[in-house]
């Protein structure tokens, strides 16, 4: 009972310290605010758009940004701002659902493989290696080739592409938790496997998974934009940022706003997820965290060095 209370208090303390660290980094705070705004747009886009997304107004085609049309109008006189807002919504929907898919499937595979070990682990990880041999967009295109273009395929394609990353992250984290004394003790006490996974393993591997989720959302937005740009993702008349950029190609010297605003929207969202992910990593990675705390306390450069490669999320090479 007392042990549980102490653990609870320690957890609480550690959580407060983590939030304080996050809040102390201005870049992380700004990116969190931007993400909150993106989230608001993603939920409310259909109500806050100033014009209908498919309201054609040919006499007012290709008008530059103005008080009425903040982002200008496209070749059919449609309001670019409204289309960008709905495009952001569509992008976020695809990104969130596909990454959720990757998290659920990938983590299940990774945790079971890491916990169970043996031949199952070997077989599963070799399959993951094979999937890593395909470049991201190529694998997504292969899925589209099988299922045909469309929003469901896009979600599935991106989800499948990012599943191996989560499997690998979850497995690595599980392997390091599995040898911890409290897991060993719990095992000798005869704890069931499912209880062990849910109660001991999962809560202790959330740190790296949260970081990976933020970075994967960034890459998922880019992947969706690329697929839609190629005409294989979100289909018209539903607006998508990637397709808007594709359509702008013919008007790039006449109407720069048609290309610039949808692209800028992608950059803002992706950058925010990337920076937020970096900030989270600084806090959730225990090694990083002690260094930052030490540095803050000393108030000087003590030299928190990062491991090579630990700096960037996304896909790593196999092997």
């Amino acid at each position: 009972m007392t042990t549980r209370e102490t653990t609870g208090a320690a957890e609480e303390q550690s959580r407060i310290a983590a939030v304080r660290l996050l809040a102390g980094n201005p870049v992380t705070v700004v990116s969190a605010v931007v993400l909150a705004m993106v989230a608001v747009v993603a939920v409310t886009a259909q109500w806050i758009v100033p014009f209908g997304i498919n309201d054609v107004d040919v006499p007012n085609a290709l008008r530059p940004p103005s008080g009425e049309h903040w982002f200008g109008t496209d070749e059919l006189g449609r309001d670019v701002l409204s289309r960008v807002l709905v495009g952001v919504q569509a992008s976020m929907r695809v990104a969130v659902v596909s990454v959720a898919f990757a998290v659920v499937v990938g983590v299940t595979i990774g945790v079971v493989a890491g916990y169970r070990g043996g031949w199952l682990d070997t077989v599963v990880m070799r399959i993951v290696d094979v999937m890593f041999a395909f470049p991201v967009l190529l694998l997504a295109l292969a899925v589209v080739a099988i299922l045909g273009p469309g929003i469901t395929t896009t979600i599935l394609a991106i989800g499948i592409v990012y599943t191996p990353i989560f499997a690998r992250v979850a497995r690595a984290a599980t392997l390091s938790v599995r040898v911890e004394p409290f897991v060993q003790v719990s095992r000798t006490m005869g704890t069931g496997h499912l209880y062990m996974l849910v109660r001991h393993i999962l809560p202790n591997i959330t740190g790296p998974l949260i970081v990976q989720t933020s970075l994967s959302l960034a890459f998922a937005i880019l992947s969706e934009a690329a697929l839609s740009f190629l005409g294989l993702g979100i289909q018209p008349p539903q607006p998508s940022l990637g397709r808007m950029i594709f359509d702008s190609q013919g008007f790039v010297t006449l109407a720069w706003w048609m290309a610039v605003f949808p692209g800028a929207a992608i950059v803002v969202a992706v950058l925010a997820f990337n920076l937020f992910g970096d900030g989270l990593r600084d806090v959730l990675d225990p090694k990083q965290r002690t260094m930052i705390e030490a540095r803050r306390r000393a108030g000087a450069d003590i030299g928190g060095r990062r491991r090579a490669g630990a700096d960037i999320g996304g896909r790593r090479r196999s092997g």
């Binding site: 070799r126 041999a133 190629l230 290309a259 992608i266 950059v267 450069d301 960037i312 092997g319």
Partner: protein, 331 residues
Amino acid sequence: MTSSANHGGAARFVSNPAARFVARRLLYSIVVMLGVLIVVFMLVHLVPGDPVRIALGTRYTPQAYDALRSASGLDRPIVEQFFGYIGSALTGNLGVSFRNGDPVTVTLLERLPATVSLAIVGIIIALLIALPAGIWSALREGRVSDAIVRVTSQFGVSIPDFWMGILLIAVFASTLHWLPTSGYRPLFDDPGGWLQHIILPGLTVGLVAAAIMTRYIRSAVLEVAATGYVRTARSKGLSPRVVTMRHTVRNAAIPILTITGIQLATILGGVIVVEVVFAWPGLGRLVYNAVAARDYPVIQGAVLLIAALFLLINLIVDMLYALVDPRIRLS
């Protein structure tokens, strides 16, 4: 090593750590390649419905259907198809295109030079930017210049490559008329034209890769700079330049080599969108057109080739590793 009397050479080979390392990596690559082959073979069989029917689309007639089906071998039992596919793939026969009946291998080899030249130009541009930026930023860790490099590279990672390509075309081709908007000239037929045409797509590919590589190189240099031998070198009074060049950067060479290899492989498989933007007749645009036309043999062949290149580059990087790193070579 009791058997070394009989198999001296072989035993020496096996006991050589570098050779053992290379052999293990080679075996690993072969296993993964076999998996890739299985996935690529399955691709056409995972299509819901009849792939031949879908590929023919409006051109469907019963005669055309039967002809294409038997030409592609899809009328044979699946086990026979599987071993047939693996066997012919190993001998370089990847079947014929559903669309125009051309041998896939020939088409792939025609497209390969354009993609390879774009990837090489891209990686050179990336290195020219990322090496100085990454090293400089690491040596000035925590200062304003470091922050600027970090923010810029983070920005570069977040930009969609096709968007950057379109903006580059808008500025340098459509407005300033310095460079052509799109197209490709083979290097050996028209070197000047090749250079003119490759600058913008090369920059697009290179800038994105540079952003990623700058971050890796910065971390690699930082890690080495924190080691004891660099501190020793500094404290025994060596000039900062000598410490940087001889002790820090040299030891960061291995991770830098690794990321360069990975990035080259990533570019080879990832230039699809850039090739479409610049009408670049490489593998990427071939895959794109094949996906749009549901030309499954071409998709399978291209995916197989790109994955094989990806594995090959990784393998070469690992071998260079064994060659460069004395810890692997001599241990």
